[in-house]
Structure formats: structure tokens, C-alpha cells
Amino acid sequence: MHELSVVQNLLKILEKLRKERAIKSFLKINLTVNPFSCLDEDNINFTFSALTKGQDAYKDAKIYIRRTDNPSSKEFILDDVEIEV
């Protein structure tokens, strides 16, 4: 349900990164989230594709979600990205 807000926030970070590092395209986007989070990988990729439609930098990108073992953490962290320069 809130994938839209999450992807919008994620895109702000990715866009900043793209401009700073002159990134041609993103390939893998690795996130770490709380084990209790309701974020679903398929849903988030669907929203991501919809929001980045027509943008070459994101057309091959796929988001991967790893859940931490620590339920005390509330993080939704963009760990790293695999890019083509």
C-alpha cells in the first residue's frame, strides 16, 4: 500500500547518486528492511517500474529486499547499487 511513498523516497536518493556519479544505468538496487516490514519485493518492483517508465537509467533495474534478523531495527536502508557507468 505504501510502496509509492517508499519508491518516491528511494528515487530521490538514486537520482542524487546518478547525478553525482554520472551513472548511466542502475542494474541492482539492494535494500535491507526490518523483518516485520510489510514491504513486498514484487509490489515494490511493480511500483518502481511504473514510476520510472521511459527513463533509460532505470529500465534494467531490479530491487532486491533483504530482511534483517534484528526486529529492533526500524531501518529501511539502501545498502548498495550495482550500476553501469
Binding site: 500500500m1 505504501h2 509509492l4 511513498s5 517508499v6 523516497n9 528511494l10 530521490k12 536518493i13 547518486l17 556519479r21 542494474l27 535494500l31 526490518n34 516485520f36 516490514s37 510489510c38 534484528n70 526486529p71 529492533s72 531495527s73 526500524k74 531501518e75 529501511f76 536502508i77 539502501l78 545498502d79 548498495d80 547499487v81 550495482e82 550500476i83 553501469e84 557507468v85
Partner: protein
């Protein structure tokens, strides 16, 4: 030929939201106003609980409300009848309130005159839990007709909550609801405090009002305390505690959790265990502006109470649960580094041989991690 690279980022996806939530929290601290994020599914009775709570306490406290709904202002219209300031936010489809929406709502309220701002979030057990809005307390309202399985189905919501109200207890004779099982499920995912009650019959409501007033008092006192901590420049945070002695582990556990969430060059987080003297050199070399020590301290408070003290204060009025003189070590650090030293004491319940932490101290750990992280991000 394609050139592929991996870039480590390590950024929070909610960085921007969390920054604004921190600003909201600072503003509320300045105004000495407690904001409470009220969440729950549609129909759980969020507005009814607010109506009755405000009606019972409005002679002694001043309230304001931010109402979050996808559309309409039905709940706001109900609350306006209590003659309090109410701001309606229509999210226009978004399933939660975020920090920016709440910031705009706060700007439209007379905060100087409000002791408490209730933020009634959009009815939903999923999304509101993921967005920090700058509230000091998170309250989830569940209800008997929803079923006892909700804590396990929506763990993030119940995990985030400081308080869980189980409403519509008058439905119990007619519903297939096992309250023992609900408590067990809740305990599996959260250490929040549970208040079973019924707005309609009034059952359990006086206990809630009593606890709520007490909690509010403590939170407002705590606001002043934590706000007085200047966490600017180079900050060394040292958690002290023996993991084998129940609540005595508090400082060590806070340091461990903070080290996972705060990764900055100007912040040094040390889990000193019960050998603080071994880390004096490390702190001196770090050249901090502020040293914060977290420890279980018996200051004759209630279980899990938090007290912020200066070096002199710990020597005069209290003793740490450890044998060494913390005050002397801190005084020495203060003298040699010029840093300001503060102690965050948590009142333990038990310090006997055990790895189990009391629920009240567990709540204090979560609160400290949240507040210190926010203080460091300000």
C-alpha cells in the same frame, strides 16, 4: 564493453521523512507539547477513545488534534464539538500520514497553548507504522471484533507501539476472542503496555485515564531532560552494563543498538560492558565535545524511569549499580578533554543473575535508542 560497478550507499530510504520528523519533535519539545500518534484499523474506535479521553481530562490539560483521513472530515467534526483546535488533513489516497503532512498540521495549531496533540492517523494497520511523524508516543488501538491474531499479522504496527489499547471489551461475550492469546501474541512482537477497555461501557477506562495522566507527566518531564542534552560536535556515547545481571545490561544494550543505527565519524559509540575504566583512553583519544554515559542507576524512581544527571549529581544522590566510581572517571574525563559529561540513568527493576530484561526497562531501551538517534541527527 560494459563497465559494471557496485556502489555502497548505506542511506535510509526514509532519510528525508525522518529529518522532518526530527524537526517536528524539536518544535514540540520547544513548546513542551507531547504529540501522540494514534493508529489502528478503520472502526477500531480511535476517534471514540480520543473523544472520551479528552472529555475526561480537558479540565486539567489542553488538547489539540490532527485528523488524518483519505477523504472527508467526519471525525474532525466530532472532535470540534469538544471545543478544542482540530486540523483535518486529507491525504487524497495516501494510506498514512507522513512527517511533512504533520509538520503542516502542527504549524496550523496553537501549540503554545496545547499540552497534548493527538495525531489520529489514517485507519490502517500497515503503512502508518513505517513513517515516523515526530510523535513522542505511538498508540495502537485494536478492538475485540477484529480478532486476537492482529499482533502476529501486523507485527510492525504493534512493535512500533508504546501503548496498545484493546477497545470494545464489552463485545467479549459475543466474540470468539481469547484475551490470553491476544496478550501472548502481543508479547511475542512488542513490549508495549496493554489497556483493555470499552469506550461504550466505560469498563477499564478509569485505569487508562489514570495511567495516561501519569505517563504524560513523566513524558513531559522527560522531554525537558532529553532536550537538555546537547549532542553536537564530537559525541562519545558509552553504554555500561553487565549482560548477565538482568536490567543492569541496559547501557550495554542501548550502545549495541545505537551502534547499528548511528554510523558517523563524529560519533563514537562504545559498549563498555562492566569495564568502563578500559575505555577511558579510547575516549580521550577521540577528543569529544560531549560524553554521554548510559547506565542502570538506582535513583529511587519507578521501574524504567530515565533520569539525566551531571557528574556531581550521581555522586551526591545516587549510586550506579556497579562498584567503581563512575563520577570519578567522568570527572577525570571532563578535566582532561574539556568535554561536557552527562549520565543517562535508567531505574532498574532487578539486577540479579539473569539475562532477562524487565518490560519497563525494555521500553526505556527503545525510547533511549529512538531519542538519542534523533538527538544526534538534529
Amino acid at each position: 564493453m560494459k563497465k559494471i560497478q557496485v556502489i555502497e550507499v548505506g542511506a535510509s530510504i526514509f532519510e528525508e521523512n525522518d529529518k522532518i520528523a526530527g524537526e517536528n519533535r524539536s518544535l514540540l519539545r520547544e513548546m513542551n507539547t507531547v504529540a501522540i500518534n494514534v493508529m489502528g484499523s478503520p472502526g477500531a474506535g480511535k476517534t471514540s477513545v480520543l473523544e472520551k479521553t479528552i472529555a475526561q481530562l480537558k479540565s486539567s490539560l489542553s488538547f489539540a488534534v490532527i485528523e488524518g483521513d483519505i477523504k472527508g472530515a467526519l471525525d474532525a467534526e466530532r472532535l470540534v464539538r469538544l471545543e478544542i483546535p482540530v486540523i483535518q488533513i486529507n491525504t487524497g489516497g495516501a494510506c498514512h500520514l507522513d512527517a511533512l503532512m504533520v509538520k503542516k498540521g502542527l504549524a496550523a495549531l496553537p501549540l503554545k497553548e496545547a499540552d497534548v496533540v493527538f495525531v489520529e492517523n489514517v485507519g490502517n494497520l500497515v503503512c502508518p507504522a513505517e513513517f515516523d511523524i515526530g510523535a513522542l508516543l505511538n498508540v495502537v488501538i485494536a478492538s475485540v471484533p477484529e480478532g486476537e491474531d492482529k499482533p502476529l499479522k501486523y507485527p510492525m504496527m504493534f512493535k512500533t507501539a508504546d501503548i496498545c489499547i484493546l477497545n470494545k471489551m464489552d463485545f467479549l461475550p459475543y466474540a470468539d476472542f481469547d484475551i490470553k492469546r491476544f496478550k501472548r501474541y502481543l508479547g511475542e512482537v512488542s513490549c508495549c503496555k496493554l489497556f483493555p477497555l470499552s469506550v461504550k461501557s466505560g469498563e477499564g477506562f478509569s485505569a487508562w485515564i489514570e495511567e495516561f495522566s501519569d505517563l504524560l507527566c513523566k513524558q513531559r518531564a522527560g522531554l525537558k531532560d532529553i532536550a537538555s542534552l546537547e549532542l553536537k560536535g564530537r559525541v562519545a556515547i558509552m553504554g555500561i552494563g553487565d549482560r548477565m545481571k538482568a536490567d543492569d545490561a541496559v547501557g550495554s544494550l542501548v550502545a549495541e543498538l545505537l551502534s547499528k543505527t548511528v554510523k558517523r565519524k563524529n560519533i563514537k559509540i562504545i559498549d563498555a560492558g562492566n569495564a568502563v575504566e578500559n575505555y577511558v583512553g579510547v575516549i580521550k583519544r577521540f577528543k569529544p565535545d560531549t560524553v554521554v554515559v548510559i547506565d542502570a542507576v538506582d535513583f529511587q524512581g519507578k521501574a524504567g524511569d530515565i533520569k539525566i544527571m551531571g557528574c556531581g549529581e550521581i555522586e551526591e544522590t545516587t549510586i550506579s549499580t556497579h562498584g567503581f566510581s563512575l563520577a570519578l572517571i567522568l570527572e577525570n574525563l571532563q578535566k582532561e578533554t574539556g568535554a561536557e559529561c552527562r549520565i543517562i540513568g535508567v531505574q532498574p527493576v532487578k539486577v540479579s543473575l539473569s539475562e532477562e530484561i524487565s518490560p519497563a526497562v525494555e521500553r526505556a531501551i527503545q525510547k533511549l535508542v529512538k531519542e538519542i538517534t534523533l538527538g544526534l541527527c538534529r
